[in-house]
């Protein structure tokens, strides 16, 4: 293997054209991910984290103004492929996605079995019976009873539908699955159940995950690494254990201090002000305006600084 990294994203840019101006949703993002690892991308709504997922999978709307950078999957720069080639050989086969609210995105008039086996038929050229067998195998992995295969989505509970959506992403055995808020609309016990399923898949099938979420507490159920996104940029990356105990970037620190703990005694903090508009971004550090530790240097754009195996986009660590 020439490249031992599964995914290497470099300087990925995705800008949208709107009537208010250019929305810089993803603005120069670098991510690296090893085989059989999970990275959590944490950020608040509107920070561009869902756009990042779409940029990696090239699921673009029509109003794209700028789309550039490098997405290297298993040693191949997939950004160089044309759309048809990407659709046939990368999406689903190399990496697949469980979109936000996937459980409500199932086709209501098709049996779930048909929906799960369809990607295998189209992308792997399987015959119908073969694909059904593959779907059944995936149902087993995600813990959906086999006889559910001929049910319709409305006959399943929310948790079961979410499992079906995950089975669908798995059926083509991709090495990477992108999950966009996989449990945000689910109950506590169902959430914990889904994370058990994801952990089992990671262990048994060796799949890697990019988990996009705003919920730091539940994301810790799967995270090996954490990347924090703010206003279209990654501001901190690093090992999950160290991030949860001692985050580096002032934004990450504030974010961690705002997470309610079950038996917490510490006073919770919140971040005053609002994130900048992605249309009209400030010069220099994008968090500076809300940052309690800002100083003169923050008016310049901070570089990504290496700090003891982690990276942080903040002048404090220069």
């Amino acid at each position: 293997m020439a490249d031992e990294k599964l995914l290497r994203v470099k300087d990925l840019v995705l800008h949208f054209r709107t009537t208010h101006g250019t929305v810089q949703a993803v603005d120069g993002v670098d991510i690296e991910l090893d085989y059989n690892r999970a990275v959590v991308i944490v950020g608040e709504s509107g920070c561009g984290k869902s756009s990042l997922a779409k940029a990696i999978l090239r699921l673009l709307p029509r109003n794209v103004e700028k789309y550039s950078g490098e997405v290297n999957l298993g040693g191949q720069d997939v950004m160089k492929l044309d759309d048809e080639d990407f659709r046939l050989n990368v999406r689903w086969v190399g990496m697949s996605m469980v979109p936000q609210a996937a459980m409500n995105a199932l086709n209501p008039v098709l049996r779930v079995g048909e929906q799960v086996s369809e990607p295998a038929m189209i992308h792997l050229g399987m015959k119908k019976e073969e694909a059904t067998q593959a779907a059944l195998k995936m149902f087993q992995h995600v813990g959906v009873p086999a006889d559910f295969i001929s049910r319709y989505p409305f006959e399943l509970s929310g948790g079961m539908r979410q499992r079906v959506a995950i089975a669908m992403a798995l059926v083509t055995s991709p090495s990477l699955i992108i999950l966009d808020e996989p449990t945000s609309a689910l109950d506590v016990l169902t959430q914990a159940n889904i994370f058990n399923v994801l952990k089992r898949i990671k262990k048994e099938l060796g799949t890697s995950f990019i988990l996009i979420t705003h919920d730091i507490a539940t994301s810790s159920e799967l995270a090996d690494e954490v990347a924090v996104m703010y206003a279209g940029q990654i501001v901190e990356t690093g090992d999950a254990g160290r991030f949860f105990t001692a985050p580096l970037h002032p934004y990450s620190q504030k974010l961690m201090a705002s997470v309610p703990r079950l038996r917490g005694t510490k006073e919770l903090e919140f971040i005053t002000g609002q994130p900048p508009s992605l249309v009209d971004l400030p010069i220099g550090c994008r968090f500076a305006e809300r940052c309690p530790q800002r100083f003169e240097k923050c008016s310049q754009n901070p570089p990504m600084i290496k700090n003891d195996g982690r990276t942080v986009k903040c002048w404090l660590y220069h």
Binding site: H214, A217, S220, E221, Q274
Partner: protein, 342 residues
């Protein structure tokens, strides 16, 4: 203004003694009829099935449960939106069922409601000023000046500064946190002494969530409000309330003070909920969680005996699956519906 302050003080005085409940819910049953082809009866959905509790003046109470456990039906019955099939809701000594239209207007001007989804709760075609003025007009405040004053005061209280900038804005021009502030201002504008908050922060981002929780807590303390806080997220409860009720399949299975419930949970379902709630810790990724198998039962035909027994790992054969557990009291003030504490 002074009239309102007087009523609030009166309420405070009236309920300042121990054991005096402002709201008393007694053996409440809310069943929804299932119809077959419009005529025949196919049974009932027993959304709330025998719930009793008291809420004191100035007390914050949390009701925790999963979706479909009946917590929203319970809340809507307390708000007077559903009629109970059996049992009573008594607020300030008045039985809700005996109130006429005028009485209900009195009731609704004293009971505020904070909805879950702020954007869905605000009319998109009304500016903030109109949204806040509406309850005042309905509540019979005729003077335009007084309405103006009250709007000003309510918006300052939820920290929507500067007020003038927000008055003309429509809900879509506000961020999620600001929308939720408008919803809270609307709930507070008639000067209620009781507030029902239905998952007020579940749709918000982590950093805004804390801000809104603190705001609600501050309002509760300043105005000596009684609050029922409905949520599925146990981790926010300890920051907000003094007592927690855990609801499962239409029943309250455990009632306790917050710290007792967090450190000494008794009901197996409460234990499962606590285990299922994550705190950020890298070790989480290395272990699997123990989750009770199956899903909450159908409320049309709930299981006999204890409703949790089919999922319970500590089920006692011939007891849990046959007899309905009453409230046991393993420690003073801690009630649990479970045969293990017989």
């Amino acid at each position: 203004m002074s009239g309102e302050a007087k009523t609030q003080n009166e309420i405070i005085e009236k309920y300042s003694g121990e054991n005096k409940a402002l709201l008393s819910v007694q053996d409440l049953h809310v069943w929804f009829e299932l119809r077959r082809f419009g005529f025949g009866r196919a049974g009932y959905v027993r959304a709330v099935d025998g719930v009793s509790f008291d809420v004191g003046r100035g007390e914050a109470l949390a009701i925790v449960g999963e979706s479909g456990c009946g917590k929203s039906s319970l809340m809507k019955t307390i708000l007077g939106l559903y009629k109970p099939n059996n049992g009573k809701v008594i607020m300030d000594g008045q039985d809700l069922q005996t109130l006429d239209a005028k009485g209900m207007r009195w009731y609704h001007s004293h009971v505020g409601y904070v909805q879950q989804d702020p954007y869905g709760a605000l009319a998109p075609f009304m500016a903030v000023k109109k949204i806040l003025e509406e309850p005042l007009i309905v509540g019979g405040i005729k003077s335009k000046e007084e309405r103006q004053q009250r709007i000003q005061k309510a918006m300052e209280e939820v920290k929507l500064f500067p007020v003038e900038d927000f008055l003309g804005k429509y809900p879509h021009m506000l961020s999620g946190g600001q929308q939720q502030r408008v919803v809270i201002a609307r709930a507070m504008i008639m000067g209620p002494y009781f507030l029902v908050a239905d998952e007020p922060v579940s749709m918000l981002d982590a950093s805004v969530r804390v801000e809104i929780l603190k705001l609600l807590r501050g309002l509760q303390e300043n105005h000596h409000l009684s609050v029922i806080y409905i949520t599925h997220d146990l981790s926010t409860v300890s920051y907000f309330s003094e007592r927690i009720f855990v609801m499962y399949a239409g029943e309250l299975v455990e009632k306790a003070k917050v710290d007792r419930l967090l450190y000494n949970p008794c009901h197996p379902y409460t234990l499962a909920l606590l285990n299922g709630t994550s705190v950020p810790d890298a070790n989480n990724a290395k272990t699997f969680k123990e989750i009770p198998p199956g899903e909450p039962p159908s409320l049309v035909k709930p299981p006999a005996g204890c409703r949790f027994h089919p999922r319970c790992s500590r089920m006692i054969p011939d007891t849990c699956d046959v007899k309905v557990p009453p409230d046991f009291e393993p420690e003073p003030g801690h009630l649990v519906k479970c045969w293990l504490f017989q």
